[in-house]
Subunit: 364 residues, 2 copies
């Protein structure tokens, strides 16, 4: 059988720095004889625009479709702020999501015990927090047509379209229910059914899929504004949250910040199963390209490393190896190894990106 294949798109800002630590881990798995990945690399985002005038070339897009999993670092930066909408770094990422049809974006918000005090929330509100937001990633207002800026009389008007079909809602609902069964068996679905018809359809379809296929899972519905409140008040009431692309964007970032561990949070974006049984998949840290600390060796590689652990689990059925990576991260944190973003007021000397990567490998 051919080796499992990975496409690495390190991207912009701190992307390449944190991805270097993942490459070390990939080499470690190879050296130990556990698994050998066929690794190729490419450009996405601003660096691709610089090289090719587009945030993602057709060749790289085609390569992403062929491999078993894509590992992405981060895209964007102030240098690209003035670019035309159609070639902004983000368009590269959005094209990958759309063309690979990665409809289910899993964003765990997990509070690491060693870091609970970093949260702006009280310790008892967040310690032990472990929830997952399942965000629909290929539809909604991100992709709906018509869209654009048009002239109407003598003024401009900006238009976007929120649009969900029944089958789009059904498939992401299923992935949330499947996930819940492996966890706390609870799903909360969030929309604004009180003001948006697309929210009504969302609620109805989620309920129908539940009643027909997942009656054993506890399902609740919540308006997204109340959801934001409840995430802030007592996030531990949730297990799996399923929501649309735009609400998912805002709520998952907020949930990530609750944990105080933004530099620590991974994500998986999954699509349909391929001929070989593996889903189309892209893994990326929740954090962005952090232009303010780029090139200083300060970035925390843990989110990127944990995204690779998610790849082991969801793409390669190597749950035990994924857990091994996660445990190594926990051990290193418990030992007090800290990058700059994890330094508390009590001070101490932070380790560099490389040192953190090395410590995690040593703990393997």
């Amino acid at each position: 059988m051919a080796n499992p294949s990975l496409l690495i798109l390190a991207g912009d800002g701190i992307g390449p720095e944190v991805m270097d630590e993942v490459k070390k881990l990939i080499a470690w798995f190879d050296t130990k004889g556990i698994v050998t990945f066929d690794v190729s690399e490419g450009l996405v985002g601003g660096c691709s625009y610089d090289a090719h005038g587009t945030p993602l070339t057709d060749e790289t897009m085609a390569r992403a479709q062929e491999v078993d999993a894509v590992l992405l670092g981060a895209v964007g930066g102030p240098k690209y702020d003035k670019l035309d909408f159609s070639v902004k770094p983000e368009r590269g990422l959005l094209r990958l999501r759309k063309e690979m049809d990665l409809f289910s974006n899993l964003r765990p918000a997990q509070c690491f015990d060693a870091l609970a005090d970093f949260s702006s929330l009280k310790r008892d509100v967040v310690a032990g927090l472990d929830i997952v937001i399942v965000r629909e990633l290929t539809s909604g207002v991100y992709f709906g047509e018509p869209r654009g800026i048009f002239m109407e009389g003598n003024e401009r008007v900006g238009i976007n379209t929120q649009r969900y079909t029944e089958s789009e809602i059904a498939r992401v609902a299923r992935s949330a229910f499947e996930l819940a069964r492996k966890r706390g068996n609870k799903v909360c679905s969030m929309e604004k059914a009180n003001v948006m018809e697309s929210g009504i359809l969302w609620r109805d379809v989620v309920q129908e899929i539940h009643d027909k296929e997942y009656p054993d899972v506890a399902l609740t519905h919540m308006y997204a504004d109340n959801g934001a409140m409840q995430l802030c008040r007592w996030p531990k009431q949730f297990d799996v949250i399923v929501t649309d692309n735009l609400f998912g964007d805002v709520l998952s970032d907020m949930a990530a910040m609750l944990t105080g561990s933004l530099g620590m949070l991974p994500s998986a974006s999954l699509g349909l199963p391929q001929a070989n049984g593996r889903p189309k998949a892209l893994y990326e840290p929740v954090h962005g390209s952090a232009p303010d600390i780029t090139g200083q060796g300060k970035a925390n590689p843990i989110a990127c490393i944990l995204s690779f652990a998610m790849a082991l689990r969801y793409s390669f059925d190597m749950g035990a190896e994924a857990t091994r990576v996660e445990k190594a991260v926990e051990k290193v944190l418990a030992d007090g190894v800290r990058t700059a973003d994890l330094m508390g007021p009590e001070g101490g000397t932070p380790v560099s990106t490389t040192q953190m990567g090395d410590a995690i490998i040593a703990a393997m």
Copy 2:
């Protein structure tokens, strides 16, 4: 000159209970010879549906257009959950906002010192917090066409339209800049210009209005997902936030929850100045109809009372009297008077809705 006029729409759930305390305050202002309001009352929401088969009658709508200010309690409740979209309680409120053209919704998120420990956030993160979210209230995805649930092939599709014209953005931006000048002179505008064209137009127009008319105000822009994070991380970095209808809904509820004082937060929805110089206006608490505690005398009337204080300030140019109400509330809180929602873990005996209202009047 005719007396200033008020239309009271107490609405559903705890709406009537908390509004009763405002009525006492209105009577107090009359008795003291300070100001006499012409008060009329009407129905909105579920109670209007029960009486008339519609969440807002044309007569009540017409009356709302005539008066100087509308005071609203709350709308909605589980009893009405299964109603058709077109007659849901919320439609009554949305019709008022739309037909009165109340485009600027001011939602202060203020942390009362006596209550800082109620927040799920750490005391130093929220103590002294005083920010205002200016939410656009009459456009965006709440009102854009086309909208609805349609058949496409053999499946349903749910559609809503996010739509903003240049002039809609300009006028709410102006109201945010005006407000900032009376406060910390800082505005942060939030959208998703990286993925939505309507967000690009939003950003451009806010910047243009700033450069032409308010160059003295410090303006920044932030993506709404990052905005949610930053509100969670360090909300005191903000002064005035201006954002669209949907982001404003989610972010303002979240900001309200940060303060730990949800039962305390008022809001003002303002439109264009009328012939008499007063803006069209509606005032309502941020909290909802709280069906779980309805009819038990447990509701906290402070948000509704502070909404009336906002009416004194913004509709009737009675800033000094508004401050007097606000100071009375602060005093009562400092004295340890607490409704059930304000009871800490240390316990004590909560006062009833009526007792809280009486205490505030006594403190006037």
